[in-house]
């Protein structure tokens, strides 16, 4: 952790923001973010001109007011298949820091308009063996490079993009659920019944936001490409109070958790990064740093929500704790 190289690379999220400025759409949306930060929400005064790079490479001046209306830069299902140019997104989850604060889960649910039990990001309690100490294990979709879900999809509703992200186009999905059975990480969920939120068309559907979901189709963690286009981190990484989740670009070899920016390769090398169930050959793009030198005792992860605590009742360690009356 205390690595000079890392420090040299690490300043803040701005650095990561810069990464995103290459692509044209990102440029537009990115500026909007900057302008959002610069001006108050109330005072959207026009007159201020901003220079932008158009998709065909021309420099134009646009009224700042107009830009603010653009962040919803809707990426249609067709466009969403392409991916953000020259990117190879990667996530690193530092298990040593996770204390099951569940902020990643909650912010993800809020952003994707998910209900209580619908979780794109799940926090599991894993105990590798009887002697091994259990640890909290945040589990998003692994966006595999050899995704079994994509191979088996009969209509191409789920697809792998050039930037490494695996998305679902729920306009295309026929709901055969083959992808769910073929995913070894249980990353996918099905919309079993109709919900009112599916009818909310105030936000046009994009596979990049996964909103609104649709009945009879599959959904899962999408790595928040809408935020990535704006040069922001995914919701889970942004909201984690412990900085557990690093996100970045493998091409640039940089990942950040919003507080520190580090070299991806070095982080993996120095901390013994691994991928879950590597032997399956799915080549995930989510790496884990082992839960060594834990910053918090595991028990801190048990909160007030009995329902959440109850989920882990089958873990041997939890049964042991219960026996001792500690929880």
């Amino acid at each position: 952790m205390e690595n000079n190289e890392n420090k040299k690379g690490g300043t803040d999220r701005r650095k990561f923001l810069k990464l995103g400025l290459l692509s044209s759409v990102t440029a537009v949306a990115g500026t909007s973010l900057v302008s959002n930060l610069a001006t108050d929400e109330e005072s959207k005064t026009s007159g201020e001109k901003i220079r932008l790079l158009t998709p065909d490479g021309k420099m134009v001046e646009v009224d700042a007011d107009n830009i603010n209306k653009y962040p919803e830069a809707l990426i249609t299902p067709e466009e969403s298949r392409k991916g953000i140019p020259n990117r190879k997104f990667v996530m690193v989850i530092d298990l040593a820091k996770c204390k099951n604060a569940r902020k990643c889960v909650e912010s993800c649910q809020k952003a994707h308009k998910l209900d209580h039990h619908e979780e794109f990001m799940k926090v599991q309690l894993i105990q590798n063996n009887e002697e091994g100490s259990p640890y909290w294990f945040p589990k998003p979709c692994f966006h595999c490079d050899e995704p079994p879900c994509v191979t088996v999809c009969p209509t191409g509703a789920t697809f792998k993009r050039d930037d490494g992200i695996v998305l679902i186009d729920n306009d295309r999905c026929i709901g055969c659920k083959f992808c769910i059975t073929s995913c070894p990480y249980s990353a996918r969920q099905f919309n079993w019944g109709h919900k009112d939120k599916f009818d909310d068309k105030s936000q046009p559907y994009s596979p990049e936001t996964s909103v609104p979901a649709a009945e009879g189709t599959v959904m899962k963690c999408d790595f928040c490409p809408d935020l990535l286009r704006q040069g922001e981190l995914p919701h889970c990484a942004k909201s984690c109070p412990m900085g557990v989740i690093y996100f970045g670009d493998k091409n640039e070899d940089i990942v950040t958790n919003g507080e520190e920016t580090v070299r991806f390769s070095q982080l993996i090398n120095d901390r013994g990064g691994y991928r879950h169930l590597e032997h399956l050959g799915t080549k995930p793009n989510v790496y884990y740093l082992p839960a060594t030198n834990r910053q918090f005792p595991l028990e801190r992860g048990f909160g007030d929500d009995e329902e959440i605590n109850e989920r882990y009742k089958n873990v041997p360690y939890v049964q042991e704790l219960k026996k001792q009356g500690k929880i």
């Binding site: 209509t155 249980s186 969920q189 099905f190």
Partner: protein
């Protein structure tokens, strides 16, 4: 000519089946339609309310629907396989069962795929399979295999119908409505049973029967691959394709025996379906039961012996939560038929049929144990508090629709054998013609 009289005789013999619907039949048909109506209601409910009305949830995303799908489709494949092989055998016994098998084949390939449609969340988008096909997906392979098989089996069934349809068309004494006579005429395609026509039809049927065997093997394999090409611990097995072939034959032969029994009893065809039919079918079932036991044992034994962690989890589930189901499916479902069929003394028609019923039920349960427990023990343990997300149990909607499948199978069967004689008349005639020719040859030789 002698044979023409014989044709008339036979039509007269079978005409009660074709002309009248007995009271018992009517009650049966009414009962079956009632089940189907309940199923229809369940289906409408599922369409309106979504898959929420089923017991399927995020972990067990496939339930009894897909089990019924495998079950029916496997019966069809094995029917195709067996009738294809029967066509090459020269035994007078085969004539009485060939049509039963062919009807089973076609009906189950029609009903089976309906169950896979019930698994699909968005039936309104079904055409996307053809609009945006991806040939990499095993589902696409399966669709191609099933559609090809469906056409193949239909053509095969039709080819075997033609001579009988011609006989029915030529018989004026048959008291059936006019539309049916017209239909016989149309479907018989001007077949006059001339030697050249007979030769040609025989050649085509022979080619088709070879193709149907090949089709069945391909279709079985692709079906098994839907499971074995995934990474799931209980499914990712190299022997799944041959295992599915054997398992399919096991249930297929079982269903054929049950059908023979019911038809024999119900239509009083003791003259045509005799003890040796059951004995021979029982012996085939015995051989397949041995193979099936061997495959089942290999499959689970290697998992148990090498005890990879996720295999062990699966076996633990099978031997705790599914203990009795496992015992019934893989012990009783194999051992009882084996004992009955192995001991000569036990090989009565009733006992053989009982063995078949046990075999078929055991096999259905065996399929259940392949699908459901595997999905309940994923690589990452299920950590959830909602019981329906941890364990699967089918709802009444699923059972109603499953029963509907069975009811539809019986109903269609009854309707088909009202339309065409269940024992191929042309086959009896062919046999008798062969006998006559043999006699003539014999006489010739003697006089010379």
């Amino acid at each position: 000519m002698n044979l023409n009289n014989r044709k008339r005789e036979l039509v007269k013999e079978f005409s009660p089946m074709l002309e009248k619907t007995s009271l018992v039949s009517k009650i049966w048909i009414g009962f079956l339609i009632a089940i189907i109506l309940v199923g229809l209601y369940a289906f409408i409910l599922q369409v309106i309310k979504g898959h929420e009305v089923t017991g399927m949830r995020d972990n067990v995303v496939w339930g009894v629907y897909i089990i019924n799908f495998i079950f029916f489709v496997c019966i069809s494949y094995s029917g195709a396989f067996i009738s294809g092989i029967l066509h090459f055998l020269k035994t007078p016994l085969k004539n009485s069962v060939s049509r039963i098998i062919e009807i089973i084949t076609v009906l189950s390939i029609v009903i089976g795929p309906v169950f896979i449609l019930l698994c699909i969340g968005r039936l309104d988008r079904l055409h996307y399979l053809f609009l945006y096909p991806r040939i990499q997906s095993p589902i696409t392979w399966d669709i191609i295999a099933i559609i090809t098989d469906l056409f193949g089996c239909f053509i095969y069934l039709y080819l075997t119908f033609i001579p009988d349809l011609a006989i029915l068309r030529d018989n004026d004494n048959l008291k059936v409505p006019n539309w049916r006579k017209k239909l016989y005429k149309f479907l018989a395609m001007n077949y006059q049973d001339t030697p050249t026509q007979r030769e040609r039809l025989h050649k085509i049927t022979k080619t088709m029967s070879t193709m149907v065997i090949a089709l069945a093997i391909v279709a079985y394999t692709v079906l098994a691959w839907i499971f074995s090409l995934t990474l799931q611990p209980g499914w990712n097995s190299t022997i799944f394709a041959p295992y599915f072939i054997i398992a399919g034959l096991y249930s297929g032969v079982g269903v054929i025996i049950i059908a023979m029994y019911l038809i024999r009893k119900y239509f009083k065809l003791e003259k045509y379906l005799v003890q040796s039919h059951f004995t021979w079918a029982g012996l085939v079932l015995l051989v397949i039961a041995l193979l099936y036991a061997y495959f089942t044992f290999s499959e689970y034994f290697s998992k148990w012996f090498s005890h990879k962690i996720h295999d062990t989890d699966l076996l633990n589930t099978l031997f705790t939560r599914y203990f009795w189901q496992f015992i019934f499916a893989n012990y009783i479902g194999v051992i009882v038929p084996l004992v009955i069929l192995f001991v000569k003394k036990f090989r009565t028609i009733k006992a053989i049929t009982f063995a078949s019923v046990v075999a078929v039920l055991g096999l259905w349960l065996n399929r259940y144990l392949i699908v459901v427990p595997t999905l309940e023990t994923p690589y990452l343990p299920i950590q959830d508090t909602r019981p329906e997300y941890i364990y699967y149990s089918a709802t009444w909607v699923e059972w109603a629709l499953s029963l509907t499948g069975v009811a539809a199978f019986f109903l269609f069967f009854l309707l088909i054998i009202k339309f065409v004689p269940i024992i191929p008349i042309s086959g009896i005639i062919d046999n008798e013609r062969d006998e006559l020719e043999k006699d003539e040859n014999l006489n010739k030789n003697l006089t010379e």
